[in-house]
Amino acid sequence: MKRYLAIRVAVMPLLLFGIASIVFVVSRLTPADPLVSIVGERNLTNPQIVAAARARWGLNDSVPVQYAKYMKNLVKGDLGTSFTTRRPVLHDLLDRLPATLELTFVALLIGVVFGVGLGVLAARNRNRLIDHVARFVALIGSSLPAFWAGLLVLYIFYARLGWLPGPGRIDPRSVAPGHITGFYTVDSLLHGDWSMFVQSVKHLILPASVLGWGVVGIVTRLVRASLLDEFSMEYVRVARAMGLRERTVVNTHALRNALLPTITIVGFLFAFLLTGAVLTETVFSWPGVGSYAVEASRKLDYPAIIGVTILGGFAFLITNLITDIAYAVADPRIRLS
């Protein structure tokens, strides 16, 4: 197992290289000129300004030269400088990553908790009304366009009912808690600022629910199926025959096994959530990597687009790795082999 993981880790740089290359090629598919986003259409015919911009952003180089430069810098951890924020892309990404991660983690939590709950409910009431309802609710989550659902809940819970705050991570007047982890919920607790914690949690509820609902469907389906598999397992019959409470049978025996396959898809879920985050962040003005990606795409901000896409691929690799490790830790048959 250790050996296997070591190989996995060793191969990662190669994969990253492949990822970066693909993204680079993709971003140069057609030379749609980002110039207009740099100097504005007002200066497009001003030869001096245009020339200066081309020189500064390396747009005069041939694509292979740009590629070589990019890769060279990438090895040093330099993802280039964004046209629009004028900062190193890496810094932008690192600044914005905590917002996305916080949102994604909470969404994952919501998705898994509700998904497992609905899955258990459905499996225990297999083919009864409650099963159908649970699966339907879950399926709606996978079928809802996240951006639309976001608008919907904002309209209802923010604009109409006023129960929850609107877009953003905190209220406009509030000051973000001092940066420790970048997770406002965690940082506020570390600073002992309870009201900020409550505030940041309130701001998380809508976007994280919208995002999390999307994975409830996947988790429900999986948990239900594997729980049904487990229910037909001998050891469940044995546990029942031994007089264990049904709750113990389900929660301690069957669920423990049924969750193993769920762990294997957490990586997939995470990637799925990152995808959803792109849209959710846009709707909720969430200052994360997703909204950064959208902005970059709109402005043809190549360095940012490439950077964020590489980050996406990287996140995917990492989560897969973590998934494998988590699976190994959770399953004694693998852990001890």
Binding site: I49, R173, S285, P287, K299
Partner: protein
């Protein structure tokens, strides 16, 4: 001014560009003015601050809309200026380096943090007033300008503002060749005979120069501080842009506290300010791209000001807690016709005039901004020098048909590729569809093709586009910018894009205007230019949208500044 659109999607996408353009707009005003107070008469006899007249009367036309009561909001708290001022805004910041920034928000930022030599009187939005410079004068040919700096002026770190700083700031602006550098492209040398005197020599007469000096992008940088942090006069070696994202080096009433792109821009009051200190200890600009969200947050008291409200969103807003001002702007959206474009050969002057006559202008104002806008005659917007007496455009279908008959055109199909933007609340698709409907009535069919601005830019640069749409917001308060951009004069943007022919007469008139010593004579020249440009039938203004300034009703000093968009130092909570 520029109003930024509200639709977040578009807004964001466009914002870079937009901002540029817009940015300019805001400033435009700078100019203005009849410089009574500011203008001293130079020894050579010319009037300083000749420029402008124009401007801004428009801004003065504010009307207050709304207020009836909604009460519901809890109110934002203490009714005094101790608490931070919060502004909801779709920010479009491209850079906070004074020599590189060029956007709407940048104008507000530059005005708050950096200072120009010449200011604009907030009460009339026209008069040039002393700021860092106590007086200024020009020679008769408008090629040499001399400024005397206020000895009291100090940067936020306490060092004095000297002529060396002015020289450094403007030379850097020119050398870095970033988006706003064209404002100083006519400067050939800057002399600093003593720390309080700046003498600028231009490469050609430029009566608009003082208006340009008023533009916020010409704010003065603390050269020692900036140099210490990597600022140079060479784009290849300059490393200061990143430093400027978290630091400032100005003499304004505020300093930069922090900036997080996509999230917020914070200003801190400069407590060592050499003039009258600002009311608010802190100003927070919150990234809020959607107009509806700006409205909600304003109504709930979560923010104090929202400036990017479209007419649809402004409807029904307001109440006792909220003021909504509708003000006239200098921004406009126009149709451009290119006979030189591929597929545009049929657009002869007669056909172009027929198109002009076929449009339902009042209908366009209704459709695009729900009536909250003005019609505009020439490419020089209403209120700028030279536009007095120009008649608003009118629809005349009979005349249009007659012209087309004369030109032998019975049915004509034209490519109308346009950037799918939403600017100043005007959705280009909406506007183009209305244009399409109007032209159909006289037998001209448009093939609408909305595209991304980068695609559009590519196409217009190569083949040109027979019928398209774009927007303009002024960079300063002088009319010359319109001639330079829209006129059929040498190197003008639209001359290039339409692949048209240079009109020598307009070049001559523009040169006259630049050399004209007083505003009266310049007004006459610009009036002639405006008429010429109307007759060119290349640029047809479609709508001049109004702006909506919304704020909590306890906010005092809300005004649209012709030069600076919103002057943070003028605001207070009553």
């Amino acid at each position: 001014m520029s109003y930024v659109p509200m639709d977040s999607r578009r807004h964001v996408r466009r914002s870079g560009l937009l901002s540029l353009a817009l940015a300019g707009s805001l400033m435009f005003a700078a100019c203005g003015s009849s410089s009574k107070s500011g203008g001293t008469t130079t020894p050579t006899g010319s009037t300083v601050a000749s420029g402008a007249t124009a401007a801004a009367s428009a801004a003065a036309g504010a009307t207050t809309a709304g207020s009836t009561a909604t009460g519901a909001t809890t109110g934002a708290g203490a009714a005094n200026s101790d608490k931070a001022l919060v502004i909801a805004r779709g920010m479009d910041v491209n850079s906070l380096d004074p020599s590189r920034s060029y956007c709407d928000t940048c104008q507000i930022f530059m005005t708050a943090v950096y200072e120009t030599l010449i200011g604009l009187d907030a009460s009339d939005n026209k008069t040039l007033v002393p700021r860092l410079a106590t007086k200024w004068e020009s020679n008769a040919t408008q090629t040499e300008f001399t400024f005397t700096l206020d000895p009291k002026a100090k940067f936020a770190d306490g060092t004095a503002v000297t002529s060396a700083d002015v020289k450094f700031s403007w030379e850097r602006l020119k050398a870095l060749k970033a988006a706003s550098s064209y404002l100083v492209s006519t400067i050939s040398t800057i002399d600093t005979p003593d720390p309080e005197t700046v003498k600028v020599t231009l490469s050609a007469p430029n009566s608009a120069f003082l208006a340009q000096v008023n533009a916020s992008y010409l704010g003065i940088i603390n050269s020692k501080l900036a140099t210490a942090n990597g600022a140079t006069l060479d784009p290849a070696t300059d490393k200061a842009e990143t430093w400027f994202l978290s630091n400032s080096a100005g003499s304004g009433p505020f300093t930069l506290e922090s900036y997080t792109s996509g999230s917020e821009l914070r200003f801190k009051r400069n407590d060592a300010y050499w003039g009258t200190k600002a009311h608010f200890p802190e100003v927070i600009m919150k990234e809020t791209p959607q107009a509806v969200t700006q409205r909600q947050q304003l109504e709930q008291g979560a923010v104090d000001i929202a400036m990017q409200i479209s007419s649809d969103v402004a409807k029904g807003m307001a109440g006792a807690d909220i003021n909504v001002k509708q003000v006239k702007s200098f921004n406009y959206v126009y149709l451009a016709l290119s006979q030189g474009a591929k597929g545009g050969e049929a657009l002869t002057p007669d056909v172009r005039q027929a198109i002009r006559l076929a449009l339902d202008y009042a209908g366009l104002v209704d459709v695009t901004v729900g009536g909250a806008g003005q019609m505009q005659a020439s490419p020089i917007p209403n209120g700028f020098l030279g536009t007095d007496g120009l008649a608003a455009p009118k629809q005349d279908l009979a005349a249009a048909k007659a012209l087309l008959a004369k030109a032998g055109v019975t049915s004509l199909t034209l490519d109308a590729t346009f950037p799918s933007l939403n600017v100043y609340g005007v959705d280009f698709s909406t506007a183009m569809q209305k244009v399409q409907t109007d032209l159909k009535a006289v037998g001209i069919n448009l093939t609408l093709n909305p595209v991304e601005i980068s695609v559009w830019a590519d196409k217009i640069g190569k083949d040109g586009i027979p019928v398209t749409m774009l927007y303009f917001a002024p960079d300063h308060t002088d009319s010359s910018q319109y001639v330079q951009y829209f006129g059929l004069v040498k190197d003008s943007q639209w001359l290039t894009w339409t692949k048209g022919t240079d009109e020598a007469a307009e070049d001559t008139l523009l040169a006259q205007a630049f050399a004209a010593p007083d505003s009266t004579s310049r007004a006459a020249v610009y009036n002639k230019l405006a008429t010429d440009m109307i007759n060119d039938q290349v640029i047809i203004p479609v709508v001049n949208p109004d702006l909506f300034l919304a704020s909590r009703s306890n906010i005092k000093g809300m005004a649209y500044s012709a030069c600076c968009n919103l002057v943070l130092a003028d605001l207070s909570r009553g």
